[in-house]
């Protein structure tokens, strides 16, 4: 859809990383997400087959972003609203995401993860300091969450390192042997911004959902008309 979205929509980065690398992924060295396990490949193929038949029967068929539920983890840049507020107080770090208005409240006191029975969209994060690096270890993701096919089995380790007064290096490592054939990592820079986070009143502004469902009904009507026309021709 190169022709549909222009600068009215996008919020591009303004700097190029020093190494000029072309992938966020730094391990494996080829910069590619490792192969998915056969089980995950099958799951995704099934999901795609279902999607083709039921693209928008109801809101539940649409993805988590469109439903204003979760952008999920790890942090991966999209075309706009890559805005985060990191707030530190004694014993906790709060990472607030503009997209989908998600806030992670991360304890730093070394307590263990919640029981595996507790499952959350953003998982259950625990933080600690390794020198000047904030390390956040997150498990307990909901089975309905979806990061490139990974969900409840995802073990995510994120590292936030100050690299200057206005910059942080963000790294994450993904481990989920049920989804990926080997672990992988990525890193990217974050820069300070001058504007505040804008409120994300997702449902209030989500005219898109009625548009998506309306679009699907229009497609169905068109298909039905085509079928009817074809039948009357064959008679």
């Amino acid at each position: 859809m190169g022709r549909s979205y222009n600068e009215f929509w996008r919020d591009r980065g303004t700097k190029v990383v020093g190494t000029r690398r072309t992938s966020l992924i730094n391990d494996p060295p080829d910069g590619k997400v490792p192969a998915l396990t056969l089980e995950t490949q099958k799951k995704q193929a099934d999901a795609r087959a279902y999607q083709r038949l039921h693209p928008s029967d109801g809101p539940e068929d649409r993805n988590l972003w469109e439903r204003c539920l979760s952008r999920g983890l790890p942090i991966v840049p999209g075309p706009y609203n890559n805005d985060f507020q990191i707030q530190q107080s004694p014993g906790y770090v709060v990472i607030f995401h503009e997209m989908v208005h998600e806030a992670r409240v991360i304890p730093l006191d070394g307590r263990p993860h919640a029981s595996p029975d507790i499952r959350q969209w953003m998982g259950d994060g625990r933080g600690h300091w390794e020198g000047d690096t904030l390390v956040v270890d997150t498990t307990n993701f909901s089975e309905k969450s979806n990061f490139r096919g990974a969900s409840s089995g995802l073990h995510l380790v994120e590292r936030f390192t100050r690299t200057g007064p206005d910059s942080i290096r963000y790294e994450f490592r993904v481990e989920d042997p049920t989804t990926f054939t080997k672990p992988w990592s990525a890193e990217m820079p974050m820069g300070k911004m001058d504007t505040p986070i804008f409120e994300y009143a997702c449902h209030e502004g989500n005219y898109a959902m009625s548009g998506l469902l309306g679009g699907a009904r229009a497609d169905e009507r068109k298909d039905a008309e085509k079928k009817a026309a074809a039948q009357s021709k064959s008679k």
Partner: protein, 136 residues
């Protein structure tokens, strides 16, 4: 100790390699690439709401009838960063919009280029050479 750090993720040159789900919603599911529209009218209201801004405009049809259209655009923070505030599009401003109509036939469109009466464009085209203004 209390630190408050507002960060923006840098994506320069890295976006193409990643981001499988890249927009809040899918263009093709909501809008019809076969239905380009060129709307000429006046701004009735602008909603700066996440995840997308919406420009409501009154479009005068050939028969003189006025129809209200809704045009979807970028996220508020993305627009603010480019200096586009509510003052950029006050009520009554004459604009024309190139976009694509909603698939369900309602008076909604995915907005692309917004042009003022004096020919100034509010948004320049993307750097993608594919991104030409609509043919119609």
């Amino acid at each position: 100790m209390r630190k408050n750090f507002v960060m923006m993720l840098g994506l320069a040159g890295l976006l193409a390699a990643v981001a499988p789900v890249w927009a809040h919603h899918a263009f093709a599911a909501e809008f019809d690439a076969q239905k380009p529209v060129k709307l000429k009218g006046t701004v009735a209201k602008v909603e700066f709401i996440n995840p997308h801004s919406w420009i409501h405009m009154d479009v005068k049809e050939a028969d003189g009838k006025v129809t209200r259209w809704m045009v979807e655009g970028g996220s508020p923070n993305a627009l603010f960063r480019r200096g586009v505030t509510k003052d950029a599009l006050p009520q009554g401003t004459e604009i024309s919009v190139d976009g694509y109509q909603a698939k369900d036939g309602s008076n909604r469109a995915n907005g692309r280029d917004i042009t003022f009466a004096d020919g100034r464009k509010l948004f320049v085209g993307g750097s993608n050479p594919d991104e030409q203004p609509n043919a119609k």
